[in-house]
Amino acid sequence: MKPIIKNSVAIFHPSGFLDGNNAMTIITGADENEIISKRPDAIFVSLQKIIFFNKKGIAYLADRLTFLKNECVAFVGFCDYDKKKYNSILDMFTDDINFSLVQSEDLVFLFAGTKNVDSKSIIIYSDDHSQKNQLAMALIERKLDVKIAKDEVEFKKDRKNFDFIVEHSYIGNIEKKVSVFIKNNIIIYTLKGFIDSDIINTFDMRYHRNSIKVGFRIFCFDVSDVSSINIHGANFLSKLSIEGAEFGVSIVVCGLHSNKIAKILTQDLEDAGILLYEDLKSFFSDEDIVGQTGIETQKMVKKVNIDKKIISILPTVIEATVHTVEVLSDKKPNKQNVKIKKLHMEKEDDFLISIVGMYGGADAVLMLVMDRQDAEDVCKILLVDEFTQEDLFDSFSEFASVISGKIVQILKSKHIDVEVTMPRIFDKISEVKKLENTNNGVQVDFKIKNRDMIIFLTR
């Protein structure tokens, strides 16, 4: 059964009865390989549609989740259950629980993954004091605002005032790698323990490079919980800074006090252009850098021209995009013209823009610009009747994932192996223009009735 992987969280959604006979068809060897290749931050099995489960079924899945946890150094467990299922699982595994239990799928994205949840308010309650602390710590480490209800009375009184309510949840043994989350368009990596040459293995370089590709420009390493950093750890950070400089990337390190690192290494970090802050709070109060919102840069950005490869994949990109729009919205985009230029639009407002990075057999950035009305139409299958701006962004991101998935499939049939990043969504052309400030690209203009749709392919 294929999991849905989104924002670096993989979730399986089985339904019906779960026992020892069918559990092995829920997470198969092929699914494990797929997950290991993508290395998500979290891997969960949703029990929302499970009517009945027995210990054999849950134990088998827990075993596979533990395997994946070790392979991917991920946060794993079960989610989407009621209190009865929660207690039943805890009763089944009284000795040692190697996995976590998170009451709903939405809550999983608070504990792991790259979904932007920093503006949400959260209340936690557990009658197990140690678990209450574990849950709170896991969220506080991700710099989320958490209220811990001191008792059930306070919890019941206050819960209605919060966006997220964490209860009936259990944090198993977490051996998190470098945890990552996004706040104010800035990617924050939280490091722990001793930072040495092992950071090369635990740091997800592919995620980092892809984030640069889709426009993130500020990367903050929070080392508040780090005991010390040796020369290999410092060199790693310096290399990241130097490598990112050509793309205008700023590397920030917060919480690096003199007792954690030799003075000479601190100087090396500064020489490599790394910005040092006392802690995350002082960093976020520095408007000069945070005000760049992570998508602008004042540094020199390397200019990269489009190449033959980009031109050769353009027909595939057009085919996949137009076909997907037609299937999901019943509208036919009519091609107007193709030009090599910087992204240009007659009108600047009322658009949604998705940006997807492609790498491997072709190195490119795909931007899709759609009129908001058309964007809502292509997303209508994915949207509920009454939706928020956040719902629309999520659905447009899913729509962009369908297109990029189709591009990957078509290119694969032509023996070009390409991988793609998760889409980033914008609703301001001005932000996107800043992002691809200096690069030319191939712009294909379409009309859907009298409205504009643009495919912009660049490097």
Partner: protein, 261 residues
């Protein structure tokens, strides 16, 4: 995109029930098993289907049976009729499945399992209305309908389902305004199923009905759709109905179908 007219076109393409099969059913309605078997023998495809299904392990016959008279005799009137209705699905069964990793053999397994288990449930609930026995034969049609309707856009739909947890039924509804069971109901009408059969299926699966029989139909489908061969085919979360069951109903269901816990 799928439109209502695509669905209407599909419905138009569904052939009528062959005359021999209709005649067989008429004789069964008159309880004339001998004449029914004699007519049925004329349809070699039906005879092959019949012997394939009844010789599946779930029917529990020790020796292989191939003779139609013998099969009808062993099955009895109601089960023989159920077989005829199940055979209706063969008329629209695709030779090759493209949307799901399914096959004719797996489809027959599903039909046989549903028939046997449903009969056990009706017996356990002491339900006398044997017309309800035939309703189970209609449900697998929804799999075929889904396979045929989504065939041309299967890649896009598959990618869509890779990014969001959404059922085929929900996609069909958002695209065309039809639910899968609406299409199945139209097929039932075309094939002159009793109106009450389609109404029962729609009401049991299309609502959160607390009627005992409806609850057990939903439980049976949930159970059958959780089998490994179904999960492997990509059909596990196919039906989009309420999964809010009481523990006592689940326990009773497990006991009726002898489920290993």
């Amino acid at each position: 995109m799928l439109h209502k007219y695509d669905i209407d076109r599909y419905l138009d393409s569904i052939p009528p029930i062959p005359k021999t099969i209709k005649s067989t059913l008429l004789y069964l309605d008159k309880a004339d098993m001998l004449q029914a078997a004699n007519i049925a023998k004329e349809d070699v495809v039906f005879v092959e289907y019949l012997s394939d299904v009844v010789n599946k392990p779930i029917f529990g016959f020790r020796d292989e049976i191939r003779n139609v008279n013998q099969i009808f005799g062993i099955l009895g009137l109601n089960r023989a009729k159920q077989m005829i209705y199940s055979y209706y699905m063969q008329i629209i069964l695709p030779k090759k499945w493209e949307v799901f990793d399914f096959s004719s053999k797996k489809f027959q397994d599903l039909q046989a399992n549903l028939m046997i288990q449903w009969s056990k449930i009706l017996d356990a609930l002491a339900i006398q209305n044997r017309d309800l026995e035939h309703s189970i034969t209609l449900i697998p049609a929804s799999l075929i309908v889904c396979e045929m309707l989504f065939r041309d856009i299967k890649d896009t739909i598959s990618l869509l389902r890779d990014t969001k947890e959404i059922t085929y039924d929900a996609i069909l509804y958002k695209m065309s305004g039809y639910r899968l069971l609406d299409v199945v109901e139209k097929i039932a009408k075309k094939w002159e199923f009793k109106k009450s059969t389609a109404v029962f299926v729609k009401s049991a699966l299309g609502s959160e009905s607390k009627r005992e029989i409806d609850i057990y139909l939903r439980l049976l489908l949930s159970y059958e759709m959780s089998k490994p061969y179904i999960i492997d085919s990509g059909l596990n979360d196919f039906f989009d109905f309420s999964l809010d069951f009481k523990e006592k109903d689940i326990s009773k269901f497990q006991s009726i179908i002898d489920m290993e816990i």
